[in-house]
């Protein structure tokens, strides 16, 4: 197992290198640069700026400089938010995104898992239909619709919760964004658990447990172990996406996470920020995929890594 993890870590390095290289040159193909504004700059000022940020050097040299700094863990200065380094921006934004993402993930797994299991146990009952139709809705209504509706209902009409803002992560401020983030995941989890539970409940080992007259809780627990496998493999990439923030939710609720940087970095041609977000997501995805593989081995005794 340990050697497997070690090998995965080592194989991550060339993958990261490829991702960095491709995105470094891709973003440079986009016309315009970080210092272009609607009101254009004087040519000399532009030259000065480019010199300061090494943008006047040949592209391949810039690439070398970037790699050298990256290898030392330095993402470089932001070209756009110039009072901050990319490291600063992540240090401030990631905790926000991770808080929201992990709470949403937790909600989705616990609530979705429960609802899905109940639906599977009571297959074709009214509760099953409610869960299924709720799942369809959660999946099909996009978050840029749900978020404003929640703001209007809970923020303005009922005046129960703040419409937006982070407010140092106060509970009242994060309720709505967490729900909006969790809803689609919750729907997926509920549907997946329902489907795999139905299958698991019909399997031989569960039937044996039932025939022995064991209480439902024990039966469900054993069924869940098998039924959770597809969820685990789904949750890996989903967690990576949730924890690195959501552009839509952060924008609408005015939250200082890192989700916005993906879009803003690209639109502002903030080259270092774009690179930083790419590396961030790549690391998260690789980490969670590894985690999924390890979990698989723990949950499913048939899986072995040699």
């Amino acid at each position: 197992m340990l050697s497997f993890i070690l090998r995965r870590f080592l194989s991550a390095i060339p993958t990261l290198f490829l991702v960095v290289t491709i995105s470094f040159f891709l973003i440079r193909i986009a016309p315009g640069g970080p210092f272009d504004l609607e009101q254009p700059l004087e040519a000399t000022v532009m030259e000065n700026l480019k010199r300061i940020y090494n943008l006047d050097k040949p592209l391949i040299e810039q690439y070398g400089i970037y790699l050298w700094h990256l290898a030392q863990g330095d993402f470089g200065p932001s070209f756009y938010l110039r009072d901050f380094t990319i490291g600063d921006l992540f240090a401030r934004g990631l905790p926000v995104s991770i808080t929201l993402g992990s709470l949403a993930l937790l909600t989705a797994v616990l609530l979705g898992g429960t609802l899905g299991s109940i639906a599977a146990l009571r297959q074709n009952s009214w509760i099953d239909y409610v869960v299924s139709s709720f799942g369809t809705m959660g999946l099909t209504i996009p978050n840029f619709v749900i978020a404003p509706v929640f703001q209007i209902v809970f923020g303005l009409m009922l005046a129960l919760l703040p419409v937006g803002g982070w407010n140092d992560g106060s509970v009242r401020n994060i309720i709505l964004p967490v729900i909006v983030l969790a809803l689609p995941q919750l729907a997926v989890v509920a549907r997946m658990i329902r489907a795999s539970m139905i299958e698991a409940l019909r399997s031989n080992h569960i039937r044996t447990l039932r025939s022995l007259g064991l209480p439902t809780s024990v039966v469900v627990l054993h069924a869940l172990r098998g039924a959770s496998l597809p969820i685990v493999s789904y949750l890996g990439p989903a967690a990576a996406a949730l924890l690195t923030g959501s552009v839509v939710v952060e924008t609408i609720f005015a939250l200082p996470g890192v989700g916005r940087y993906f879009v803003e970095g690209a639109l502002n041609r903030d080259y270092t920020l774009v690179m930083g977000t790419v590396v961030l997501v790549a690391v998260f995805v690789m980490f969670f995929n590894l985690l999924v593989d390890i979990l698989y081995a723990i949950i499913d005794p048939r899986v072995r890594y040699e």
């Binding site: 315009g32 609607e38 000065n48 009072d83 009922l158 005046a159 982070w166 005015a254 939250l255």
Partner: protein, 528 residues
């Protein structure tokens, strides 16, 4: 609990809480277009950065609540007879937030710093009227030669390249704000961090959380601190205008710097006079590339301009948040009279259409040979709706329009660096209230700004003549002649004038709508 009951309860609690807190702190949650790129005033260029910086720093001259130029750090100034030398006397009680006295040498340091090519100041060109500034900024001179001199601690003398009637107004711009030399020497680029930032204005930097908020606190060392009523200003970037309007309605923001134009009507119904629109010194236009075969002929350009229904676009697309434009220079600008206007302004739509068709026919276009125009714009909903309406108007005179839309960076890079465009949407917001700030963009040697590649020696000659004219009246006449020529040649189709669109809470006192769109917090107060 019903929503009514809930609100009353909350309001009751809030009242109790506020009366307790009122003595402690008055907080102003202020919506702002975006986060600043930096809080180093010399490296900024936009108005939304300026809102924050002018609350923290005070230049020689400043804007008051009504957007008029008033003495800032300089309590008085004298201008030499030839208009070339300005002598400023600084306030005796001008101080930095750390208690250091503010000296004339601080301004010498600051102005040299912004012109130093090593600083990489984005908007240094605003201060090019200062003697040798342009040369220094272009790396052809030494900063010591800049026409700025500290006569003594309280007297500053600035010498210009040539008389510049709007120079005092230029000094209100963020590029003219002073920076604290000692903290730059100590902290380098980190002097902008909370804790390191030393400022001389009504407020000091407390905290900057990117994507969330910038918190400023009252500066006890400010010379007029006793009249500053708001203790804390929290600038919050407005990423999503619709959500921002909702936050305003919920009372989470006391003012916003914009609102969604497509909701203007509904907002007015709900919020009444808290929705403010006033003219702003900015032009929304379509640049016509005069080097392109199909747009070479002024008659064609005139026809394209004539047939656009500006009132409809202003009302339907922008909900009245932008106003129809029939001149290049917006009305109400300083150092000018009534702007020159296009000659078709008073013609009826039918007359305009007939005239435009006739002009196109003279230029050789007609049913057999339709004029084809490619129209570029940067993608926003309102831009899209505007250009679609423009194309619709053009269709009435048989013009076939095709669109290319890209993100803003791509759009402006294409306009600046290439010649691969025919017609293109663009905008210009005044940096200072003077017609020269609009008309200079059409000078033939203005490579970066002149998207139309307009080149008319007569126009250039008039602009040169105006630059040398000291008499403001005569200068205004010359500039007006230049504007009239530009409107006849029509390299730019003026479509709309920008508006200042704000949501301003009834609780916020001291907000005065004005064309500059600047609203210094120091003049405001909050009614509980």
């Amino acid at each position: 609990m019903s929503s009514w009951l809930k609100r009353t309860t909350i309001a009751a609690f809030a009242t109790v809480a506020f009366t307790g807190m009122a003595a402690a702190q008055v907080v102003y949650n202020r919506g702002n277009d975006a986060d600043p790129e930096t809080l180093d005033p010399h490296k900024t260029s936009t108005t939304y950065e300026s809102h924050i910086l002018r609350d923290m720093l005070e230049g020689l001259m400043a804007y008051n609540a009504a957007g008029k130029v008033v003495p800032g750090v300089a309590e008085k100034h004298e201008i030499s007879d030839d208009g070339m030398t300005y002598r400023f006397t600084l306030r005796p009680n001008a101080k930095w937030s750390n208690g250091d006295p503010l000296k004339a040498s601080d301004f010498v340091f600051s102005l040299r710093r912004i012109m130093d090519p090593a600083t990489g100041a984005k908007y240094a060109n605003i201060l090019y009227p200062i003697k040798n500034a342009e040369k220094i900024n272009k790396g052809q001179g030494k900063v010591e030669d800049l026409g700025v001199k500290a006569v003594d601690d309280r007297t500053l003398e600035i010498t210009l390249e040539q008389p510049t009637p709007y120079f005092l107004e230029l000094l209100t711009h963020q590029t003219g704000l002073p920076v604290h030399a000692a903290s730059i020497q100590k902290h380098g680029a980190d002097f902008v961090k909370p804790g390191n930032y030393v400022s001389n204005g009504p407020y000091v930097l407390k905290d900057f959380v990117p994507n969330s908020q910038i918190t400023l606190e009252k500066n006890a060392n400010f010379h007029d601190a006793q009249n500053v009523k708001i203790d804390r200003v929290v600038f919050q970037p407005q990423k999503d205008l619709a959500a921002t309007a909702r936050r305003f309605e919920a009372g989470e923001l006391l003012s916003t710097s914009d609102f969604p134009a497509d909701q203007a009507k509904a907002l007015r119904e709900r919020l009444g006079n808290q929705v403010r629109t006033s003219p702003r010194l900015g032009l929304y236009y379509i640049a016509l590339n005069t080097t392109k075969e199909n747009l070479k002929d002024p008659r064609v350009r005139q026809a394209l301009s004539m047939v656009i229904d500006r009132e409809l676009i202003s009302e339907q697309v922008w909900g009245g948040a932008m106003l129809p434009a029939y001149s290049i220079v917006p009305p109400g600008i300083g150092n000018y009279k009534e702007p020159a206007t296009v000659d078709f302004k008073d013609m009826s739509p039918i007359e305009r259409e007939d005239k435009a068709k006739e002009l196109l026919k003279q230029a050789g276009y007609g049913p057999g040979k339709p004029l084809k125009v490619q129209l570029r714009y940067n993608t926003t909903d309102n831009n899209k709706n505007t250009v679609v309406q423009v194309a619709d108007d053009w269709k009435r005179i048989g013009v076939e329009t095709s669109f290319i839309n890209t993100d803003g960076k791509t759009h402006f890079a294409v306009l600046r660096d290439t010649n691969d465009y025919e017609a293109a949407r663009a905008g210009w917001i005044a940096d200072y209230s003077d017609p020269q700030n609009f008309l200079f963009i059409l000078e033939s040697d203005n490579k970066g700004f002149n998207y139309a590649k307009y080149n008319n020696p007569e126009y250039d000659a008039l602009m040169d003549k105006a630059a040398k004219e000291q008499n403001l009246d005569k200068r205004a006449d010359i500039l007006k002649q230049a504007e009239a020529i530009a409107l006849k040649d029509m390299p730019y189709i003026p479509v709309l004038f920008y508006g200042n669109n704000n949501l301003v809470s009834n609780k916020l006192q001291g907000w005065v709508d004005n064309p500059t769109g600047f609203h210094p917090t120091r003049y405001m107060s909050i009614k509980q």
